[in-house]
Amino acid sequence: MTDQPLLRVRGLTKHFPVRQGLRSTGLVQAVDGLDFDVQPGETLGLVGESGCGKTTTGRMLVRLLEPTAGSIEFAGRDITHAGRRELRPLRQDLQIIFQDPYASLNPRHTVGRIVAMPLQVNGIKPPGGIKARVQELLELVGLNPEHYNRYPHEFSGGQRQRIGIARALALRPKLIVADEPVSALDVSIQAQVVNLLRDLQRDLGLAFVFIAHDLAVVRHFCQRVAVMYLGRIVEIGDRADIYERPQHPYTRALLSAIPDVTRLGPGGRIRLSGDVPTPLDPPSGCRFRTRCWKAQDICATQEPALVPRDGGNQATACHFPEAVGASLLAEGAPAGDAAGAIVEEVSP
């Protein structure tokens, strides 16, 4: 099974031309050379802040966007530039769940029609009829199958997100790209949906690419995690590697910036300065160097490669990675040597 990954991404790149009138005045380097694999039944988290290219990546994986360069292989077939007809048989295996439960459902269609859409588009007639299949799906995601004839506006945000999940499951896919599936929901509803996705993932053996900005949610859902910054993967590894032994400074900063209910008072001590630079003109060399407290001259000139450390599953793109074994959680935050070098955010 592990011989051939379900999804194999190499050098995936998306540049959006910026036009003023007819002239092209620049390139937004939204995604710039991603490599990763997803095994059957595996959950990969894609995390990062706004502008890191995670959403663009998700859109490319289900081919809603055309990659500028690189390749996407799904189940051994190159689908990088496949047309609609060629994609058809693969569509059934590759589905997407969207962030906004309000925008992702056609307000003029009944729930039944929304969930049945993938079946109808692909001309699939399930045994027992479309309606029976749709009601089965509604039940699967925890909705009342009797609500088949209702319209989206009659449901709450969490219920709408369940409808979107049912639609994605209609074709019995092997891989689901979930683009921030819970971030638009109320706190108490998020956990319901995360649990639902986890149950479905286990019961149906689905592989997921789970896109999120919330590292805590990703930790509860994903076996592997890729941290993105400005269109690149800066660190990828198993969950335990990323959350307990982060090696990239950005991963550490991201983790320490999350306000955690279990720790009161001012949070972790790593404070990055400034905002994410524009992908229109990313920094040379390491893209994180402008906000990194470890940056040296080499970071500006030479781009660090995403290389595995110590032969493990964890790969980090950094010239000065943290030593393996330096646990972030041991002291709640890096102390001593690191703290001295940390860029203080507001210095009077």
């Binding site: 709450s156 108490s188 998020q190 649990n195 805590a216 509860h220 991201l254 910036a257 306000p259 404070r271």
Partner: protein, 374 residues
């Protein structure tokens, strides 16, 4: 809320049933039994239904709730930013000793911006796109300082921009909102809110639209500025983590009512209301067992038009079906939470029909065992 309801069993009657905190006496902002109602086509919305709290200068109150909990309406009512035609407000709102409910719009307007200011969730829509950021802040200053010259206002603005951590403030003064990044815009909003040195600052989800690393910066900045200006801050958020990081006191709202109130340690460390338990155990954490299922609150937030009778939380509460339960019929009062004499529970209030002992047992059995909330 202030009624002398018989204390729940197990609590002697000599405890004050009226929730008075020490800070209530000399607080800068004091809200007492605030009720806000809107008339809509579909019926009367009781957006806020009898909420009381107080904030001292130099302290931060976190108001936590989901959509429709009434947390934002509370802040709009304090600032007098509600639609006066459709809204009925009763109760007392006292800011710096002045009673705001019933005050003429004109007088509230004069207080707004000078004595109290607001930071919004989305700075892009709160800033006017056609004026430079500097001009908008300077104008906010001159409204309340008519004697100030343009040069003074500009100088004051540049100082404020500098103070909130905007690099090259003199150059940034003449830039437009779209030329600022998200984090910089929120800093500019904070500069605008603080330009008149208000004693009360209301921040409505100030970091929700921001990335986590920027959110951390902004929260630090708010804490720094509070230490410097000694203002009272109300921080409205859905994120208990944010509250834990910056708040001194916490008010948990549900269905337009306060369900729990206390210091941040009390509410987050020894939460008393099943809703607060639910919030805490449903938030994924960076610690604990990552493979354990989250413990969600079942159901959906209620509609304010059609609130469940009794305790508004009862349809979602795990413990509502216990024998002898009154939550379907009777609205629980906000009462002292702890059993008699227990240290550390002073000022901790909860609105729940469960007794303190029941809550302690249930919490230990159900929630703490999951290992999420500590």
């Amino acid at each position: 809320m202030d009624s002398s309801d018989p204390a729940p069993s197990g609590e002697p009657d000599d405890r004050p049933t009226v929730p008075v905190q020490r800070s209530d006496q000399d607080a800068y902002l004091r809200v007492t039994d605030l009720r806000v109602r809107f008339d809509t086509e579909d019926g009367v919305v009781r957006a806020v239904d009898g909420v009381s709290f107080a904030v001292e200068r130099g302290r931060t109150l976190g108001i936590v709730g989901e959509s429709g909990s009434g947390k934002s309406v509370t802040s709009l009512a304090i600032l007098g930013l509600h639609d006066a035609k459709r809204t009925t407000i009763t109760g007392e709102i006292s800011v710096g000793g002045r009673q705001l409910v019933g005050l003429a719009d004109e007088e509230v307007r004069r207080l707004r911006g000078r004595d109290m200011a607001m930071i919004f969730q989305d700075p892009l829509s709160a800033l006017h796109p056609y004026y430079t950021v500097g001009r908008q802040i300077a104008e906010a200053y001159r409204v309340h300082h008519p004697e100030a010259s343009r040069r003074e206002a500009r100088q004051r603005t540049v100082d404020m921009l500098d103070r909130v951590g905007i690099p090259q403030p003199a150059r940034r003064f003449d830039q437009y909102p779209h030329e600022f990044s998200g984090g910089m815009r929120q800093r500019a909003m904070i500069a605008m809110a603080l330009v008149n040195d208000p004693a009360l600052l209301i921040a409505d989800e100030p970091t929700t639209a921001l990335d986590v690393t920027v959110q951390a910066q902004i929260l630090d900045l708010l804490a720094d500025l509070q230490a410097e200006f000694h203002s009272a801050i109300i921080l409205i958020t859905h994120d208990l983590g944010v509250v834990g990081q910056v708040a001194d006191e916490v008010l948990v709202m549900y269905g337009g009512r306060a369900v729990e109130r206390g210091s941040v340690e009390q509410v987050l460390r020894t939460p008393q209301h099943p809703y607060t338990w639910g919030l805490l155990s449903s938030v994924p954490s960076l610690h604990g067992d990552a493979d354990a299922d989250l413990l969600p609150i079942r159901g959906n937030p209620p509609s304010l038009i059609n609130l469940p009778p009794g305790c508004a939380f009862h349809p979602r509460c795990r413990y509502a079906d216990r024998p002898g339960d009154r939550s379907r019929t009777e609205v629980p009062e906000l009462r002292p939470a702890g059993p008699t004499g227990e240290a550390g529970s002073a000022g901790h209030l909860v609105a729940c029909h469960l007794t303190a002992e029941e809550r302690a047992t249930l919490y230990a059995e159900d929630i703490a065992s999951v290992g999420v909330a500590r």
